[in-house]
Symmetry: C2
């Protein structure tokens, strides 16, 4: 089941302070992922909590670095801990971590992300949180970590979804419940529209 969350506050902020850069980059680093407006984050956390309030979330999983702030503020609403997947350069030699591979389209590289097995349990009911959803590679990696742990995947709370890129559609088709607070339908140098 998918519920659309009208999070006008975030849309208005994107329209006011976001900038579209060549190459389809939406720059929101004044309030979302470099400088971070924690008051806005608190409103976003409330919206996610409204959507997933009945899902008995026991853990929020995100990926470093820019998802961590959102995840921590959201965790206060849900009353649960945060776990962040780490980008790793070292091999998992002692079997103490779950590993998955993520391909970054933005940076044109592939990297491993890990979480310690002891913090992601089969009894956990996991909500994923991230700042962006575009091609969906990072989110898919997080889904894979949850699957490896045998935990229950409740869904994903996303700040900004680029709805014109394929990640959201592909992951929803696989059954993932995604609650994006702003869904960008199109963007160009002088205009930006949202999915209504």
């Amino acid at each position: 089941m998918e519920v659309y969350l009208p999070m006008r506050l975030l849309e208005e902020r994107i329209l006011r302070d976001g900038k579209v850069r060549p190459g389809g980059i939406l720059k929101v680093d004044g309030f979302l992922n470099h400088q971070m407006d924690v008051e806005l984050f608190a409103s976003m956390a409330k919206a996610w909590h409204e959507a997933f309030a009945d899902d008995n979330v026991t853990k929020i999983l995100t990926i470093e670095a820019s998802g961590i702030g959102l995840a921590c503020i959201a965790a206060q609403e849900f009353g649960c801990p945060v776990l962040f997947a780490k980008k790793s350069k070292t091999k998992n030699i002692d079997g103490s971590v779950y590993t998955t591979r993520v391909e970054s389209y933005t940076h044109g590289n592939i990297y491993d992300v890990i979480v310690a097995k002891e913090y992601l349990l089969s009894a956990d009911r996991v909500l994923l949180i991230d700042d962006f959803l575009a091609n969906g590679a990072a989110l898919e990696g997080l889904c894979d970590l949850v699957r490896q742990a045998g935990a229950t995947l409740v869904g994903a709370g996303i700040a900004v979804e680029k709805a014109f890129q394929p990640g959201g559609e592909r992951l929803r088709a696989k059954g993932l419940r995604i609650e994006s607070l702003a869904r960008v339908a199109s963007m160009s140098d002088d205009s930006l529209t949202f999915v209504r």
Copy 2:
């Protein structure tokens, strides 16, 4: 002026859940820097706010990745935004960022960290937040970014200081006010003591 903050809650948590690993590693990733206990973070934020309440903090500066969660929860107490310094592999070609070089003793490498000039202003009164203080390289890098911006450096809130390593002493000698919530005096496989 330095005020010692007795933050017994964090000390007790370190004694309960922390693990000392070979090579002087204090592993606190069950609650501080992999899995994150945001309820504990809220208590820590209150302690920092108590220490810096009269300093009119306008911005919290931290460094990715593990400082971000602490910084965001602290920012809610101070009612200000967070800015996190990013590890960068690309050269600053357009002059839009402040850059400083940080030497990691833990990982044995040197990296550049950057912040966008537009988010760190000369009018800012900056509080630094980080999870660990040992040799002080990361904290010194953040101080340098504040200096480059011509902003006012109010001080630093640290979760765990390894008081037997030289960073804290060196930076305090330079005039930096540092409020560490737990100061480890010594640690070995079977004991850990705090500075009193």
